[in-house]
């Protein structure tokens, strides 16, 4: 896939399913199709509840529906995870830190703990 995905692929999935904008608007509980059109033209970002509704309608996971947005969030979270991992690695580990360190390492793509001097 291209390194830069589109913010969302809602239009693609709507057309694949054969729905009109008005029909999707109805399923989402909107009064008219204007908001659906705004989503598809990347002029608005669906809220959590609407995103979940899209997932229900198209039976497609959010990363596929909102490819570009998901990529952006993933990059930001991974960046923060690296910073947090660096901070935690400098601290003395305790019983509870094992799981979160493992999760953070998985997030940033590290396969093993760094060697401690």
């Amino acid at each position: 896939m291209p390194s830069r995905k589109l913010p969302n692929y809602l239009r693609r999935y709507r057309k694949l399913a054969g729905f009109s904008e008005a029909e999707i608007a109805f399923l989402l509980g909107f009064q008219d199709a204007a908001q659906v059109s705004r989503y598809e033209h990347f002029r608005a970002v669906p809220g959590l509840l609407t995103a979940l509704a899209y997932h229900v309608i198209f039976q497609t996971a959010p990363p596929a529906l909102f490819g570009g947005k998901y990529q952006k969030i993933e990059r930001m979270v991974r960046r923060r995870a690296r910073r947090l991992l660096k901070r935690l690695d400098a601290q003395t580990p305790n019983r509870r830190s094992g799981r979160k360190l493992a999760l953070l390492r998985a997030l940033v793509g590290e396969t093993q703990e760094p060697e401690k001097s």
Binding site: M1, P2, S3, R4, K5, L6, Y9, R11, R12, K15, L16, G18, H41, F42
Partner: protein, 193 residues
């Protein structure tokens, strides 16, 4: 970072018709993002450019594909409009490529597809999302199905991806062996290629 020889690029392919143009947007040989036909009734050149611009702005493709009309003396206006589209894309920072009819024919000949309808059927097997839009069998008195231009555009795009893979030296066989789990390979093996 997109590699220059990677086939995974977002491409916008256009096929000009007398009534407007058909288009497809692909993110790989097997991933259809959007498709459709746009009509232009008045001020065709200007309207076409405006609609192409809207697609370029919306999809930010890495490559715009159009048909290579050559230097034929016929269809001068069509050739001029396609050139305008080509230059428009370049001016707006989008790489543009012309795909010759020969290139398209060569690709689909491997699937024993010669006529436009046969090519459309093969395209529909490669891109099953387009299957519901396969043009009806056209009788002499019928006007062209608007969706025919979509398949012509899709054929351009597939020929482009195929030529990129061939030039990258990945394979001397067209897309068939590379497409993941789709009917392309099945068609090729059934046709004895």
């Amino acid at each position: 970072m997109t590699q220059s020889n990677s086939p995974e690029r977002r491409v916008l392919a256009l096929h000009k018709t007398s009534r407007g143009f058909g288009f497809v947007v692909l993110e790989s040989p097997a991933t259809l993002v959007d498709w459709g036909a746009r009509t232009t009734r008045t001020q065709k050149a200007r309207t076409t450019l405006l609609k192409v611009r809207a697609l370029l702005e919306h999809y930010s493709p890495e490559v715009l594909l159009i048909e290579d009309c050559g230097a034929s003396a016929t269809h001068v206006r069509r050739r001029q409009l396609l050139e305008s589209i080509f230059e428009f894309a370049i001016e707006n920072g989008v790489a543009a490529r012309r795909i010759s009819k020969q290139r398209v024919r060569k690709l689909f000949l491997a699937f024993e597809a010669v006529t436009r309808r046969q090519i459309a059927m093969v395209v529909a097997r490669i891109l099953p999302d387009l299957a519901p839009y396969v043009p009806r069998i056209r009788k002499p008195w019928m006007s062209e199905d608007y969706s025919a231009a979509i398949f012509d555009a899709a054929a351009l795009a597939l020929a482009y991806f195929d030529s990129r893979r061939t030039h990258a030296g990945r394979t001397s066989i067209p897309l068939s062996a590379q497409m993941e789990g789709n009917a392309f390979t099945e068609i090729r093996s059934n046709s004895g290629n």
